[in-house]
Symmetry: C2
């Protein structure tokens, strides 16, 4: 009997926003895996740290800064090899995923390497998308709203075209694209409806009208254009 | 001190997909409120039933079938009056919301009536969107995918235009629109990439290629067009 690989949605940051289901799996498995920087602490591991029994083997998937010398492909190949060996020995592995594993998650790279040969179960999690909406205190989408989720690295024209045909929107993976995207939203006349959210639900959470956002954004930040509908009934 | 109204995301259906945070609030408050049909069982209440202490006052927000004779507006006005009285007496109220409260949730109608005068805290939940993706076993959005969430009641042309400019998509609130939307996806050449998901994560869950979906869909069903990207690295 080979083990199961769990893609475990651990939620947006607040350790209490993990589900009962993910919590039960997290504390039961003998091996956990998680993305991490080349040096230092893994955000995913930090989110679940209060729940860890302290007896588990940990596989840190460390992404080197110098992608030219050591490509991410090789990092995931190596992580998949290590996880495969555990599964083949009959043990389950929980791969920790910030937010939800299938919504822009790096879990897809493990999934692509292991799902055709091993049992993989995905446990959905609370996404930063709705966690950020809760932080703004504004409904994200209502009734017949069309909601578009747009990665910030896309070219201006691609972002603008989708925004112009959406009622609500989220612009994800902001990071170094903040300045450019903010200028675009000013040009489109959307700046007044836009929120900037950084580290939603974490201690370091920032929620600001986009017009008042800082100059530099971390990778875990996003812009929301919340529903323009007033809930009508 | 007036009480707090919690908009409590209880997740897509599996009682274990509630968060630790929502669970703690759910079991602590003395009053819960939830949407319900005119007669019979509330789905939201059924989802959390295994967790209820059995000692709480319950406010069922019952939606009459005959909206002409008794408009939904009056139902929410009355529910808001009842909840306001509890809050003003200093007690907290947890309003149960399937999925996430700010993602197409009917919680918006309570929010609109109470947020300007009372403390309202929204606890985000696992959405049926990502729960359905987990059920298909396919990543919903990857890397630079644009994901569009579209309510099925929109006219064909509005749905088609958004689908033609999206990488991944979800068509929500399917219900009686299933036949029409399926025909549209055939016409757009998208039927092969489309999944039909009904009652995601519940005992009655159905997950099928849309081409093999039943003729009639319940309200809690949706179509997903998952990422066409193979995760590349």
């Amino acid at each position: 009997m080979t083990g199961t690989l769990f893609g475990l949605g651990i939620g947006p940051g607040d350790p209490e926003l993990i589900t009962l289901k993910a919590h039960a799996i997290l504390t039961r498995v003998k091996v956990i895996a998680y993305p991490a920087p080349e040096h230092g602490e893994s955000l995913a591991r930090r989110i679940v740290a209060p729940h860890l029994p302290g007896t588990q083997r940990e596989i840190a998937i460390r992404m080197p800064l110098d992608a030219a010398r050591f490509p991410a492909r090789e990092v995931y190949d190596e992580a998949a090899r290590e996880i495969r060996a555990v599964l083949d020995a009959g043990e389950d592995v929980a791969a920790l995923c910030e937010g939800d594993p299938f919504l822009y998650g790096s879990f897809a790279y493990l999934f692509a390497r292991l799902a055709s040969t091993h049992k993989v179960v995905v446990v959905p999690g609370v996404s930063s998308l709705t966690a950020a909406a809760a932080a703004t205190g504004q409904p994200l989408a209502l009734q017949r709203d069309v909601l578009t989720v747009i990665p910030a690295p896309l070219p201006d024209a691609d972002i603008a075209r989708r925004l112009e045909d959406s009622d609500s929107a989220a612009i994800m993976k902001l990071g170094r694209h903040l300045g450019r995207v903010r200028a675009l939203l000013v040009a489109l006349g959307l700046i007044e409806r836009a929120w900037y959210i950084e580290h939603a639900t974490m201690a370091a959470q920032k929620v600001l009208p986009l017009a008042h956002a800082p100059e530099a954004a971390p990778y875990f930040s996003l812009i929301l254009i919340t529903s323009k509908e007033t809930p009508r009934l």
